[in-house]
Chain length 359, copies 2
C-alpha cells in the first residue's frame, strides 16, 4: 500500500495520542518515525510503532515522561529520560546540546533512562539546520558479539555524523557499527533468503548464511566481520558508542541493555537506567566562517561524486545521498508499506478505536 | 637489535635537535615516536624518522614552527601548525582542548598546516590522564578508494577514542578506517607475503592479494572491504575524519592531502594548508562523578573480558590491551628494531654527525 505522508503522519500521531502522549510529544515522535520512512529506512519507521505500543503496555515506556537535566557544565550535560520514548527524549537532549553550542561553541549530552530513539540521522540533522555539525549515537539491545566471542554483548550501536554543505545537501554518515544492520536480516528472514557470509555466526561462532541463526543463539558480527578484516575496529566503534551513551550517562550497557521487544524481559540485575544515547553539536563558525566551510564541503562532495569508478554505471555515493533521494520521491508519491506492516498498524487502530489506514 | 628505551629516546631527540628543533620540541617529538615503538606500533615509531627528516630537507616540514590559534570560541578553536611536525603541533592542540575542557566541560580543536602526527593514541591519552575522554583523528595521504571507486581519495584516516578506567587500564580504540592499515601492507611487502582478499584492489578495482598492487595504481579498501560487508560505513567514517580534520580547519582534504613521502610532490593546486587533525577532550565529571564512571568502566571491561569465546584459548581483547602489554614488556626489555630500520637510523646519525646506535 502506498500511503501519502500526511495520512501516515496523522495516523501515527493518533496512536501516540492514544497512548497518552501530549500533543507536542505525539507530533514529535511521529515526525521522527515519518522521517525514517520518508528516507527509505523502513526498519526504523512506523513498522516499529507496534513495538513501542507493546513496551508501553508493559509499562516499560512512559508516555508522559518528566525529562530532566541531572548534571551539567556549560557544554556538557546528562539527561534522564524518565523512561520516555527515545523519539522525544533524544530531541530534548539535542536541543540542549544546540543551546550550549550556541553559547559556548559546542554542546554534548549523554542520556540515560531512555528507549529506542529511531534513526540517529534525525537528531544529528537538528544541528545541521543550525549550521552546526551534529553527532548522534545510541546503544541498543545486545545482538552483536565482540571479536573472538560468541556471546551477544553489544547492540548494533549506530553512530551518525552530519555536516552541512552549501549547494549540495548535507553529508550524513549514519551507520550501524555491525557488519549488517538488524533490519537487513529481518528482510532476509521475511523473504526466506540466505544472507552473505560475514554478517552472522551461529551459537558456536561458525559463520552461517541462515538469517534465522540469530534466534537460535547466534549473533551479529561487528563491522569488519572477522579479525583479519578489522572486526576489532567494529568492536572498538561499538564499544565507543556503548561507553559514551551509557557508561557516561548511567544507563545500562553491554548485555544489560533492556531488549526493545516486549516478549523479552529486561535483565533482573540492571547496571543503570534504560538505554543510553549520546548527542552533540559543534558550531561550524567556532572553527571557520560558515561560507568558507560550506564552499569547501561542496568542493569535497563534487570531487568525490566525480571519482573514477570501477563500473561506469555505479557512481560513488556520498553518505546521505540515497536517503535524500528517497525523501524527495516519497514526500511526493507516498510511503510504500508492506502488508504485514499495514496489518499491524490496523490492529493498533482497532485497539485504540481510531480510523484504520484505508486501502 | 634490541635497544633500551632511554638510548633510543636520546638518539631520536638528537636527530630532532640536529634538524633545528628546540629542546622542548625535540623531547616531545621523540616522546610521541617512542610511545609508538613501546606500544608495538612499529610502523609509526622511529621507523618513520627518516621520513620526517627527508620532508624537512625538502622544506616541507618546518623545524621551528610558530604555532598559532587562528579562530576560537570558549570550547572550539582552529590551530595553524605553521608546517611544523605533527608530533608537536597535535600535542599543542590537545593541550588547548584540555584547557577549554577544564574551564567549560569540553574542548575541540581542528588543526591545519600540520604534518604526520604519529599515533592518534598519544594525543587522546593526554586527555585520559586528566580524567577526560580523549578524541584524536587525522587525515593522511590518499591511499584508500571510496566504495565503488578505483581512485585513491582518502588516507587511512585513523580515529581514536580513549576512556579512563579505574583499576583497569584505559580503553583506547585507535584504528585506521581502512580494512587494513598501510603498515600491515608494508610488512607483507617486506616479507614477500600475500595479503588477505578484502584489503586492496588493483588499478582496475579487482581484489588482489599482491601487497605491491598499491605501487601499481591499486588502492586500499575502506573498513568493511566491500559494499555487502559495509565498506560504505568505512568510507563514511573516513569521510568524517577528513571533514573534521581538514574541511573544518582549512587543511588539504581528499586527494589534495600532501604525501608523507618526500619523493612524491604535493599537488600543485592545494585546497588548504598541509594536513589536518581533529582533537577533543570532555571532562568525565561534566557528565557524572569520576569515581562512578570509573567503577562502571571497570565493570564494563571485566564483563567483556570474561565473555564466552569461540576458542577457549583466545579471550576477548579490550581495545588498547595488547598495546599496553607491549609497553610494559618493551619498557623493561627494550625495543626490537629490524636491520633495515637500524641502517636507516645510522645513516641519519652519520648525516648529522651523532653517535650511531651501537650493536
Amino acid at each position: 500500500m502506498l500511503v501519502p505522508e500526511q495520512i501516515l503522519r496523522t495516523f501515527t500521531q493518533n496512536i501516540f495520542l492514544s497512548m497518552g502522549c501530549s500533543d507536542a510529544h505525539a507530533a514529535l515522535a511521529a515526525d521522527v518515525l515519518l522521517l525514517s520512512d520518508l528516507r527509505g529506512i523502513d526498519s526504523h519507521g512506523v513498522a516499529r510503532l507496534t513495538g513501542y505500543v507493546r513496551l508501553w503496555e508493559k509499562k516499560r515506556i512512559n508516555a508522559t515522561p518528566h525529562i530532566t537535566i541531572v548534571h551539567e557544565t556549560p557544554t556538557t550535560a546528562t539527561v534522564d529520560g524518565d523512561a520516555g520514548l527515545g523519539l522525544v527524549v533524544a530531541p530534548f537532549a539535542m536541543k540542549l546540546a544546540i543551546q550550549k553550542a550556541e553559547q559556548y561553541g559546542s554542546g554534548w549530552v549523554s542520556v540515560r533512562n531512555s528507549n529506542h530513539f529511531g534513526i540517529a540521522g534525525y537528531h544529528a540533522l537538528m544541528a545541521v539546520e543550525k549550521d552546526m555539525i551534529g553527532f548522534a549515537m545510541t546503544n541498543a539491545s545486545p545482538l552483536v558479539a565482540p571479536t573472538f566471542s560468541n556471546e551477544r554483548l553489544l547492540g548494533t550501536n549506530p553512530m551518525c555524523y552530519a555536516f552541512p554543505a552549501g549547494n549540495y545537501p548535507p553529508v550524513i554518515a549514519d551507520m550501524a557499527t555491525s557488519a549488517a544492520a538488524n533490519g537487513k536480516l529481518e528482510i532476509a528472514q521475511r523473504l526466506g533468503k540466505q544472507v552473505p557470509e560475514g554478517w552472522i555466526q551461529d551459537a558456536n561462532g561458525n559463520y552461517t548464511t541462515d538469517p534465522h541463526a540469530l534466534k537460535n543463539g547466534g549473533s551479529l558480527l561487528p563491522l569488519g566481520s572477522d579479525r583479519e578484516h578489522g572486526s576489532h575496529k567494529g568492536f572498538g566503534l561499538s564499544a565507543t558508542v556503548d561507553i559514551l551513551s551509557a557508561v557516561l550517562s548511567g544507563a545500562n550497557y553491554g548485555p544489560w541493555v533492556p531488549p526493545f521487544v516486549a516478549f523479552l524481559e529486561p535483565p533482573t540485575d540492571p547496571v543503570g537506567l534504560g538505554i543510553g544515547h549520546f548527542l552533540g553539536a559543534m558550531r561550524v563558525d567556532g572553527f571557520r566562517p560558515v561560507n568558507e566551510f560550506k564552499a569547501h564541503m561542496d568542493n569535497w562532495i563534487s570531487r568525490f561524486k566525480s571519482a573514477s569508478t570501477i563500473d561506469p554505471s555505479q557512481k560513488v555515493i556520498i553518505p546521505g545521498e540515497p536517503e535524500l533521494e528517497s525523501q524527495a520521491e516519497r514526500s511526493k508519491n507516498g510511503i510504500p508499506l508492506i502488508d504485514a506492516v499495514v496489518d499491524d498498524l490496523n490492529t493498533l487502530a482497532t485497539k485504540f478505536g481510531i480510523a484504520p489506514l484505508a486501502s
